[in-house]
Symmetry: C2
């Protein structure tokens, strides 16, 4: 009876998912009659902190969870000797943490579809121009995040997904296939513009479809107005399926 949920677990890329043109809002709109989209985004978090609180985070969610996206790594990949060193997590630990989070989610919700999402690419020029000290650079003006470092974590994320037998969305690679990705998809060199959100939304819809959670495969909640007989709309509510409970 309870509608299935799709949980979005991650850092700021997730916490912002219901902002302007956000990928989470688009998902909620897409599944408006068939699934609930539940936001569990924690800005600034790396996988070390996420793994530590994952039990508590999932305990705040009730109902039937059909799928969960896990999007961390943008903070883990912050360079260890620059302005955002406090967020850095070595890539070997990042792998371990992702594995632990994935296993915890599968224990908590047996049969859940886990989708690991890589960090997006980094536009170092955009970080420098759009983000104020000390978030994007230190005294030296050196960036605290690089695209090369994000790529190392993206590849690790895809590899962990393969090893764990769960799905992955490599948004780091996907975005870089488009010319002008740096300014088109990234607002401040790291966070997504509405167009960047669109790319991630489409990748998530594709992954959910691949997991038999497409719009077409989920039942719509209550009769659609377009399916009702205009001469006898009440008839649509007489089916046993929709009987009052």
């Amino acid at each position: 009876m309870v509608r299935p949920s799709i949980v979005l677990f991650g850092d700021s890329i997730t916490e912002e998912a219901f902002g302007e043109g956000g990928w989470g809002a688009s998902l909620a709109n897409h599944y408006s009659r068939s699934a609930d989209v539940v936001l569990r985004g924690y800005s600034g978090y790396n996988t070390r902190w996420a793994a530590r609180v994952a039990n508590r985070a999932v305990a705040t969610i009730s109902g039937h969870v059909a799928a969960v996206t896990v999007c961390f790594g943008a903070n883990d990949a912050a360079l260890p000797d620059r302005a955002s060193a406090a967020q850095h997590v070595p890539v070997a630990e990042y792998r371990d943490n992702l594995r632990a989070i994935s296993a915890l989610l599968q224990r908590r919700w047996p049969g859940v579809v886990v989708i690991l999402v890589t960090p997006p690419p980094v536009d170092e020029d955009g970080r420098r121009r759009r983000c104020r000290y000390p978030y994007a650079h230190d005294y030296s003006g050196l960036p605290e995040r690089t695209n090369a470092a994000a790529g190392v974590y993206a590849r690790a994320c895809v590899e962990v997904a393969r090893q764990c037998g769960v799905r992955a969305i490599d948004v780091w690679s996907r975005m870089q296939k488009f010319a002008g990705w740096e300014k088109s998809f990234l607002r401040d060199g790291l966070h997504l513009t509405p167009r960047g959100n669109r790319v991630l939304f489409e990748e998530v819809v594709f992954a959910l479809k691949d997991a038999n959670l497409s719009l077409e495969s989920l039942p719509a909640d209550l009769p659609l107005f377009g399916d009702m007989d205009p001469n006898n709309p009440a008839k649509s509510f007489e089916d046993d399926e929709w009987a009052e409970c």
Copy 2:
């Protein structure tokens, strides 16, 4: 432990609430760390059908519901002798249905904050121009909805709220206080533009604040990154409050 939810129950004004600039998406973004926004919008529905399926609709929602917006009337107010006659509900029955829905929600979730939302105003010119036959007019070209009729239902909605001791948002009156509301707030004479969504979002935030459900009064889920000690971020997770469960 479970995060409180705010349920949005209504017709297309609600079902579309996570579209571009939607008031539901803005609410989810506003409460991103403290409350879940749960969409239960059923396009085209009037209160007769809503009252009939309300039990089933609420049964699809689990967890702790703190508040629920109820936004119907735009379809009830469709004129009984025009193109959308199948959706029309007489205003006396509209009142009874709203009362029944409000009572049902309070039985289901004791202590829940119920907020009745009036239908928005109608821009008859916008309906005629932007909406294709037979949704906006019949052969005669006469509109199937008028602002005067929507106003009758809006006043009835506010009165029912007062009688039942629940909150009301009179978006019909509120929007008409702004010059140019017809094209600024309404996309097709009936449904909301991003600016119209903004008006409704702000009214809902205000009503929730009045009901002690402001952002400030709800606890944030897990430590905020901005509150962590950059030299010892792990310390934030040592409090009992955040202990693993």
